[in-house]
């Protein structure tokens, strides 16, 4: 196992945590440890968690810290190798063959210029410049998961017309999953794993203060308390961190325009709850929740 102890000057989980904080991402110790281990061991990092806990954000922050560009592959039902890996530029190949017949000399139609690079191939070819994010992998089909397995174990693919392409160093790959279905055991095994929980109130407050502009400390505290309370309700879509940040911002804005405090929260509730049924469910209790949160 090739181990790199230090990556761009980061030699421990703590240093990574600090670097992530500089990139406006507050990671807890567990996440920092998992991410550092993934980088050091050259293994993919698998992040699972409820929607809105900041999985994709974490990937962006890690790419930022490493100073690499993020290649994002959004998974969906029916995604296949052509969308993830490469495709031949067929119309151009045909044109080239035409030209060849009209006397332009021999043209190799499997040259680079006829190859359309998709995120996974791009990551293999430029591992030192990129971070590959395979987002919401639980949405893809089993068939794609199996294909991914091959890619993640060897970081090698083969294009029949060109032969195998292999990354000359282990690329940084981050996978995220909302856990709408269980991933295959073999895939989990190949990765360093981290389950992202909703942050602790203390940390969520710091996130809001860091992310939102002009939100007062008391507002942030109230939002965190209210959001924490809402997450315990049986909602279809529980508010994530992004929702908490937006709610704090929206309420602050309304307050600046003259709305009183509990009122400002209530009127901007639509930013935090985005489902009609949830809204109806929470409405009767919202006054109590807000009063409790502001206390």
């Amino acid at each position: 196992m090739a181990v790199r102890r230090t990556i761009v000057g980061i030699g421990s989980p703590r240093e990574l945590e600090e670097a992530l904080r500089a990139a406006y991402y507050l990671a807890d110790e567990e996440l920092a440890t998992a991410a550092y281990l993934a980088l050091a061991l050259g293994k993919p990092l698998l992040l699972e968690g409820a929607p809105g806990v900041g999985k994709t954000e974490a990937a962006k922050a890690i790419a930022g810290v490493l100073g690499r560009s993020l290649l994002r592959l959004q998974c969906y039902e029916g995604i296949d190798a052509a969308a993830a890996l490469y495709e031949w530029n067929f119309p151009r190949q045909m044109l080239a063959l035409r030209q060849e017949r009209e006397g332009a000399g021999q043209i190799d139609i499997y040259r680079d210029e006829f190859l359309i690079e998709r995120p996974m191939l791009a990551c293999l070819r430029r591992p030192e410049e990129t971070v590959l994010l395979i987002d919401e992998i639980d949405r893809s089909d089993q068939e794609f998961e199996a294909f991914l397995l091959e890619f993640l174990s060897d970081f090698q693919i083969s294009i029949p017309e060109r032969g195998p392409i292999r990354a000359y160093e282990r690329p940084v790959v981050i996978l995220t999953s909302n856990r709408t279905r269980e991933l295959h055991e073999a895939l989990r095994r190949r990765c360093v794993y981290h389950w992202i929980e909703y942050p602790s109130p203390e940390r969520e407050m710091r996130i809001i203060m860091l992310r939102a502009s002009g939100v007062g400390e008391r507002t942030a505290r109230a939002v965190v308390a209210a959001v924490g309370r809402l997450r315990r309700e049986p909602l279809a879509k529980r508010p994530g961190i992004a929702e908490a940040v937006e709610w704090a911002e929206a309420a602050t804005l309304l307050n600046e325009q003259g709305a009183r405090w509990p009122e400002a929260f209530r009127r901007s509730l639509g930013v935090a709850l985005k489902d009609e049924d949830d809204f109806v469910h929470v409405s009767p209790k919202i006054d109590a929740i807000l009063a409790e949160a502001q206390a």
Binding site: M1, L41, V192
Partner: protein
């Protein structure tokens, strides 16, 4: 070498402990864990724990159990949580007909007679009267190949109007025509039949119907490519290969010999849990259509049932629960087990007659996963 082994021993024995407790730990994960510990210093036991969580990847719902095992092993503190959740004893209640002869694997009998167990399991073979729904089943067998649920396979086939161009074939054609492209060729993914898993409740409350259900399963096994049939009651039994016999009478007799818990009590939750605890069985459920023929009368803990069905919902493509109680259009589930499982079902339908069961299975492909 022995020196190294001595230093590694605590870690290796921990892996063994995890495996005994039903966690899947691969050698490559062990290597990653050891490398991770070295990388982290380690500055304390917290580092070792974090490294273990990240590299051994226990499923989130078992974090508590994992931590308890970790504490017990490394800190020597046997916590209460560990004692109350002895995974090992829950696991082995699955019998598999492919593993050995017709001898069923018996569960832990002391547990069987515990407070929750209801009625004696009748360890007896059962005679089957000839089935009366012959015509329905024959029609079902003919209709199924065209209407079974499908998934996209990995291979391609040429297809007019397919979603992508078949460049390779076109180039080959072009060679024959002096480099001229004459026809657009397209291709699409080959479709494969989705696996169908049938779970037949053989408990006392379903007594009247188990025989018809087995006959149905026998027809299904004969007509479709990938089918697995299990019976559930107080235990789980795989009867697929018994049902592969062509002759129905003989197939049903062979299956009935395998099943050890005819007309006993119902511990669906535990039986379903046993299904998921055997990795080989759980792998069968991945992406499969799950058809449960049961009234959902659960004598055990409805929470176990809820947890099992929830896991099934994450693994399987679709879950259809057919209960004979739903013959009435105004049916609302009352039993605690069914109420607990309901949120995770794609469909809760009428399983009172073979006609309606056949219709539901034929419609599996039509109804998209909710």
């Amino acid at each position: 070498m022995s020196d190294v082994a001595r230093h590694l021993a605590p870690f290796l024995t921990f892996a063994a402990l995890l495996r005994r407790s039903g966690f899947a730990v691969a050698p490559e994960q062990m290597m990653a864990w050891l490398a991770a510990i070295e990388l982290l210093g380690p500055t304390g036991i917290a580092d070792v724990r974090r490294a273990a969580r990240a590299t051994l990847a226990p499923p989130p719902e078992r974090f508590d159990e994992f931590d308890a095992l970790f504490d017990a092993h490394f800190l020597g503190a046997l916590s209460a949580g560990l004692e109350s959740a002895p995974r090992e004893e829950e696991a082995p209640r699955a019998a598999d007909d492919s593993a050995g002869g017709p001898e069923p694997i018996f569960g832990d009998e002391t547990r069987e007679s515990g407070a929750k167990a209801t009625g004696a399991e009748r360890l007896s073979a059962r005679r089957f009267a000839p089935a009366s729904e012959d015509a329905t089943l024959r029609r079902f067998a003919r209709a199924l190949p065209a209407r079974a649920p499908r998934r996209r396979g990995y291979r391609w086939r040429t297809a007019r109007g397919g979603p992508s161009t078949d460049a390779r074939r076109m180039f080959r054609d072009a060679m024959r025509n002096a480099g001229e492209f004459v026809r657009m060729r397209r291709r699409k993914r080959r479709l494969r039949q989705r696996r169908i898993i049938v779970l037949i409740d053989v408990s006392g409350s379903m007594k009247e119907r188990t025989q018809a259900h087995l006959a149905f399963a026998h027809t299904l096994v004969g007509a479709a490519d990938a089918v697995e049939v299990f019976t559930i009651g107080t235990r789980l039994t795989r009867v697929t290969s018994a049902l592969r016999l062509k002759n129905r009478e003989r197939a049903l007799t062979a299956a009935s010999l395998l099943v050890a818990d005819w007309d006993g009590g119902t511990r669906l939750g535990e039986a379903l849990g046993a299904f998921l605890a055997v990795p080989r069985f759980a792998a069968l459920a991945r992406g499969a259509a799950l058809v449960v023929l049961s009234d959902g009368l659960e004598r055990g803990d409805p929470r176990a049932m809820r947890d099992a069905v929830e896991r099934f919902a994450r693994i399987a493509w679709r879950i259809v629960w057919l209960t004979p109680l739903a013959a009435d259009a105004a049916f609302e589930p009352r039993t605690a087990g069914l109420l607990a499982a309901r949120p995770f079902l794609n469909e809760l339908g009428d399983g009172a007659s073979i006609d309606s069961i056949c219709a539901h299975v034929l419609d599996l492909a039509k109804a998209r996963a909710a």
